[in-house]
């Protein structure tokens, strides 16, 4: 086997996996606190990219000159904030009234929300794919020989790492993060010790949506074509990644995303691209059969 080609595929897989990881974090956090699958999460990722597209010309005016790093950062942060707001809004309007209902009901509602976001975006922006502006100069990093690593791929991996550490800090070191962890263990006990569960849940949605928005912008940097249905497939795969890592477990989601991204790329590159969309599910089924709580998940014994 050609070793350069293998490393090349590995790099490709890592940058893809980083995107899955960022989306998977949102799924896993929401599942952690509310125990439900937020199917509209993939569409928040799509909205992130579309906000980036809309914001780019405006930011260009504030930060003149093409490819300015502050400009790109401003777009990233603004889009994350907008999506965080939308995430909170959806939770407040739709999911909160359903909180004590059967999970199936909430899941179907989430699918409804997902369809709604997609189709409204399609109506407002058109169905044709849009070219995403080149926010940073995309070229191959020099000095790596036959290996091609693009600045965009490096950015994806780097920004993902920064966001992961940021998230780790928030969850482990801040009060809200502690409340999130407490809530995922026992919501009633949380209320008893004076945690405002609603605030914490809103915060979780904001955090997850912001990460999805970042994923949207990053993916658009790397493959600059965005359209309203782009959230469907990555959304489902990221969910699989979250389950793979042990749903509710934050490092697990990141790990799951990377594993799915790398495996997918390797199978496509070395075996056959024909079954790409089935790979994630095949891994999932195997994992669930042999380790049903995911790689890093804690086994949850159901009590009588």
């Amino acid at each position: 086997m050609d070793i350069t080609q293998f490393i090349q595929q590995l790099v490709n897989g890592l940058s893809l996996g980083a995107i899955y990881a960022l989306i998977a974090l949102g799924y896993t956090m929401v599942y952690g606190v509310l125990r439900f699958i937020n199917f509209a999460h993939g569409d928040i990722y799509m909205l992130g990219a579309f906000f980036g597209l809309g914001l780019a010309p405006r930011m260009q005016r504030i930060f003149p000159g093409s490819h300015s790093i502050p400009g790109a950062l401003a777009i990233l942060i603004a889009s994350m904030l907008l999506c965080a707001a939308i995430g909170v809004l959806i939770e407040r309007l739709v999911y909160r009234p359903l909180r004590d209902r059967p999970r199936l009901t909430v899941l179907i509602t989430a699918i409804g929300v997902s369809l709604f976001i997609q189709n409204v975006t399609q109506l407002l922006c058109g169905a044709d794919p849009k070219a995403f502006p080149e926010l940073i100069p995309v070229r191959a990093i020099e000095g790596l020989g036959d290996l091609t690593v693009l600045t965009s791929q490096a950015t994806v991996i780097l920004v993902t790492l920064i966001l992961l550490f940021g998230l780790h800090f928030i969850v482990q070191k801040t009060k809200l993060g502690m409340a999130m962890r407490a809530l995922s263990l026992n919501p009633t006990a949380c209320l008893l010790v004076g945690v405002n569960n609603n605030t914490v849940i809103s915060f979780t949605f904001a955090l997850g949506s912001a990460l999805a928005a970042a994923a949207g912008i990053l993916v658009a940097l790397d493959s600059p074509s965005i359209e309203p249905m782009m959230g469907n497939v990555p959304g489902i795969k990221a969910f699989v990644a979250a389950v793979l890592g042990g749903i509710g477990n934050i490092p697990g989601a990141a790990l799951g995303g990377l594993i799915i991204g790398v495996t997918e790329t390797l199978v496509v590159g070395y075996v056959s691209p024909a079954f790409r969309d089935a790979i994630a599910f095949a891994i999932l089924i195997l994992i669930l059969l042999f380790k049903p709580d995911g790689l890093l998940g804690k086994s949850e014994r159901e009590k009588v």
Partner: protein, 379 residues
């Protein structure tokens, strides 16, 4: 559940089935034409492009006084890019709206679902963009105005062997699109039969964003060119990612490439790539220029191949109604079948015995972000 309520319901369902609903319409002062297109869902970008072209054509025809002294009323149904939806939509158009002919669809899969219904009802159907040869094989009421897969696949294989003088060609197919699978099949057949070699076969699915795995393995097979019969959404990304990975060989494609988005998304990397198309927007023919201008005025965007085909499908039908002198299905069918050298924006269309359009293909090269005419290949 209560036992009786269940029973009542079962019977109610059955009763619903036998109720004969009928709607009657008065004598119409308009000619009703049905259209089914994917205006929402996964392939909405193609469906709405063709729909825009069709609407523009109908408006122009009506502004010029209509056909046979009557205005054309276009009734559009959205198939939502969903299987099963096309047949329902077409049945509704035929039996409820009493349309005289049907335009649609872009996707061969949905055309194949609707065609048997049009055939059975003896309502002519004209597909603007379904390239699968099977579509018109359904029956003598089914027509198309686009190329079929064998023609375009063969044209590009010939072009690769004779004009580009390459023998070792990799093929990258979109497995989700029958169009792409069809083109790849006929390309491969011609290439291997005339001394060429398929260096590597790879595939992807529409909607993918990352093609580096496939491209990395194509690169390692060292092809002289890559045949990429996909749609512009993915093509632009693929060619861009190929350039970034250092795979610098010519890419060849079909009419699915034709869209201004191709260059917007693909940018510099699209320079020097080739594809076959129905027409060249560079063409100075007044008809093409006025179509491009009117389309831009109405929709504020440049028309792509789908829009041009949608536009032609409506004008092609109107022309046949004029020649038939009536909307009688049999006369209309005969008029459609005897179309010769109809001057469409997508080329001069002659309908052959298989009810397919025979028209020549233009091979275009992308230069300076524009599609430049290279050569014409006659069928």
């Amino acid at each position: 559940m209560s036992r009786t309520s269940g029973q009542v319901l079962v019977l109610a369902v059955l009763a619903l089935g036998v109720l004969p609903f009928q709607q009657t319409w008065g004598a119409e002062a308009v000619i009703k034409v049905g259209e089914y297109a994917s205006l929402s869902g996964g392939t909405a970008s193609f469906g709405s492009a063709s729909h825009k072209g069709t609407v523009l054509a109908v408006e122009e025809i009506n502004a010029a006084g209509g056909v046979l002294g009557k205005q054309i009323q276009l009734i559009t149904e959205d198939t939502q890019s969903k299987a099963g939806e096309a047949s329902t939509a077409v049945r509704k158009l035929i039996s409820q709206d009493k349309v005289v002919a049907i335009l649609g669809e872009i996707a061969s899969s949905r055309s194949l679902e609707a065609a048997p219904i049009c055939q059975e009802a003896k309502i002519p159907m004209i597909s603007p963009g379904s390239t699968n040869p099977k579509v018109t094989e359904v029956g003598d009421y089914i027509f198309r105005i686009c190329f079929i897969d064998p023609f375009q696949g063969t044209v590009m294989a010939k072009f690769a062997l004779d004009s580009l003088k390459v023998k070792n060609v990799a093929v990258l197919t979109d497995v989700k699109q029958d169009y792409s699978v069809g083109l790849a099949q006929f390309f491969r057949e011609y290439l291997t039969a005339h001394g060429g070699v398929v260096a590597k076969e790879q595939s992807y699915s529409s909607g993918d964003k990352d093609f580096r795995a496939q491209l990395t393995s194509i690169k390692s097979s060292k092809p002289e060119a890559v045949f990429l019969p996909g749609y512009y959404n993915e093509v632009a990304l693929i060619v861009k990612q190929a350039e970034q990975l250092g795979l610098k060989v010519p890419f060849l494609g079909g009419d699915g490439w034709d869209s201004s988005s191709l260059v917007e998304i693909g940018g510099q990397s699209m320079e020097g790539q080739y594809f076959s198309n129905h027409f060249s927007p560079e063409d100075n023919a007044p008809q093409i220029q006025s179509f491009v201008k009117n389309f831009q005025t109405k929709y504020n965007q440049t028309p792509d191949a789908m829009a041009a085909l949608g536009y032609d499908s409506a004008r092609f039908l109107a022309d046949a109604i004029r020649r038939a002198g009536s909307t009688d299905p049999v006369k209309l069918r005969d008029a459609l079948a005897s179309t010769k050298n109809f001057g469409g924006v997508t080329g001069s269309i002659t309908i052959n015995a298989q009810r397919n359009a025979t028209k020549s293909a233009d091979i275009l090269v992308i230069k300076g972000g524009k599609f430049k005419f290279m050569q014409t290949v006659a069928p």
